[in-house]
Amino acid sequence: MGQPLVSELLRDHLQELANRDERADGRTQWQGRDLSVEIGVLERAEGSAKVVMGDTIVYAGIKFQLQTPYPDRPDEGGLMTSAELRPLAGRHHEPGPPSPLSIEMGRVVDRGIRESGCINTKDLCIIPGEKVWQVIIDCFAISDDGNMFDAFALAAIAALQNSTLPGERFDVGEDRPLPVNKTPIMCSFQKVGGRFVYDANREEEVGGDERIHITLGEGDHVHSLQKGLKGVFSASEFAEIMDAAKVRCAELRKIVDSL
């Protein structure tokens, strides 16, 4: 039962930092951690990416399967996103069935991809009514030092944009690149010490309050939003992080598009 106490100390510490407009690791309010994105890193996947954001490390791997289309959408393939936070990735990750958090992560990443329309499911059709591709995005955590949402989302879109439909292995034509039309980018904000910051690390997550995930596309179109955790926020706070998201999403989109 000592946990809440420790957490109070941490919260107080983060509050003091926020009062001085500082963060525990020296960053400014809207500054992200050092970032690297590599693609083509998984030999067995048809597309892959590794994202390192500070001490947060994740993979995304793309696999394809054949499936029968739904009768009411005979010329459309499918898309599935799964996020795994196995106990490898951190002291606080428990073994067992998928945690509510990892289910939420998978769904939030999935929505950003899906709702942006970056995958036209009609591009996944092989034989209408008979055979279509299912795209499976597996997000996999290696080291969780906070903000897995953005790391997963970034790895997912980078891996998608560099993946190959394995026609030959499945005997349905030649291999060809998966068409990806857009580059949806997620930016996540957490309330820490009473104000929102971008790209919270694990310490800020533990001592923080609600988080808000924003996925933007070209022209700052909004594709997905999600508020997580307990917390109240005002319309003006939201307007402020939306502005920060517009700036950062554009930067990240440039990185992904240049891979």
Binding site: P4, H221, S234
Partner: protein, 241 residues
């Protein structure tokens, strides 16, 4: 969002398939105390949605490992009854229900004065009896009514509503067809007294201007729903309506 822009859901006069104008809410009816064995309960009919919420507690939190020294824990479940949908909804584990339960709990924890009940537990049970569209919004709103009926102190009520976009028109309070075939869905959970938010999701495609319009619809709708809620409470408990 299906994004099936080719289905006509608003006619040339701006009238939606259920006869509403862009900014109109569906009809809403509230009843308190519908679960006599619960400590508090409420039902909402909202269009064809019918949702019942019940509250049990504050009660002893057990097993003890879930207890929190300094506050109550809030245990929220959202569930669809098997006959609530056109195709039977199979009982059992369901990722969607789990996620909605979680975001509903997050929203309610932001207003329930949990620190008044250390080491205890408050259970909030939401059952969708008949689903149309926006069940998560109806469930969250009904839950805050059930908490009020149970006499649990809250800093504010929560009113939740989802606006969105269909046929490139921004509309208030999506119905079933609009939810299935529309281009965007923006559910929000609003505190009617402060205008602040405790719940926010969004799916689809909205330009910055469209986004603002949908946001404003939700804010206005929340105020209207709040009036209906206050009337229902006043009807049972008296006080000005």
């Amino acid at each position: 969002m299906g994004g099936y822009g080719d289905i006509q859901m608003i006619d040339e006069n701006g009238v939606r398939v259920d006869g509403r104008k862009a900014g109109d809410l569906r009809p809403i009816e509230i009843e308190l105390g519908v679960v006599p064995v619960a400590d508090g309960s409420a039902s909402m009919r909202w269009g064809t949605n019918y949702v019942i919420a019940a509250v049990y507690g504050p009660m002893e939190a057990h097993p003890r490992k879930i207890q929190r020294q300094e506050r109550a824990v809030l245990d929220v479940r959202y569930n669809m009854a098997p006959f609530s949908t056109t195709d039977r909804f199979r009982p059992g584990f369901n990722r969607r229900s789990r996620e909605i339960s979680k975001v509903t709990a997050d929203a309610l924890e932001s207003v329930v004065q949990l620190e008044l009940f250390p080491r205890s537990k408050i259970r909030v049970e939401i059952e969708v009896i008949c689903a149309e569209a926006g069940t998560r919004c109806v469930g969250l709103t009904a839950a805050s009514l059930a908490l009020a009926d149970a006499g649990i102190p809250m800093s504010d009520m929560v009113v939740s509503v989802a606006s969105g976009k269909v046929n490139d028109v921004v509309v208030c309070d999506l119905n079933k067809e609009e939810d299935n075939y529309g281009e965007a869905d923006l559910p929000m959970g609003i505190l009617p007294n402060s205008g602040e938010l405790v719940f926010l999701q969004m799916d689809g495609d909205l330009s910055p201007a469209e986004f603002q319009e949908a946001w404003d619809y939700n804010m206005a709708a929340a105020m209207n729903v709040h009036e209906i809620m206050k009337e229902a409470i006043a009807k049972k408990y008296g006080g000005e309506s």
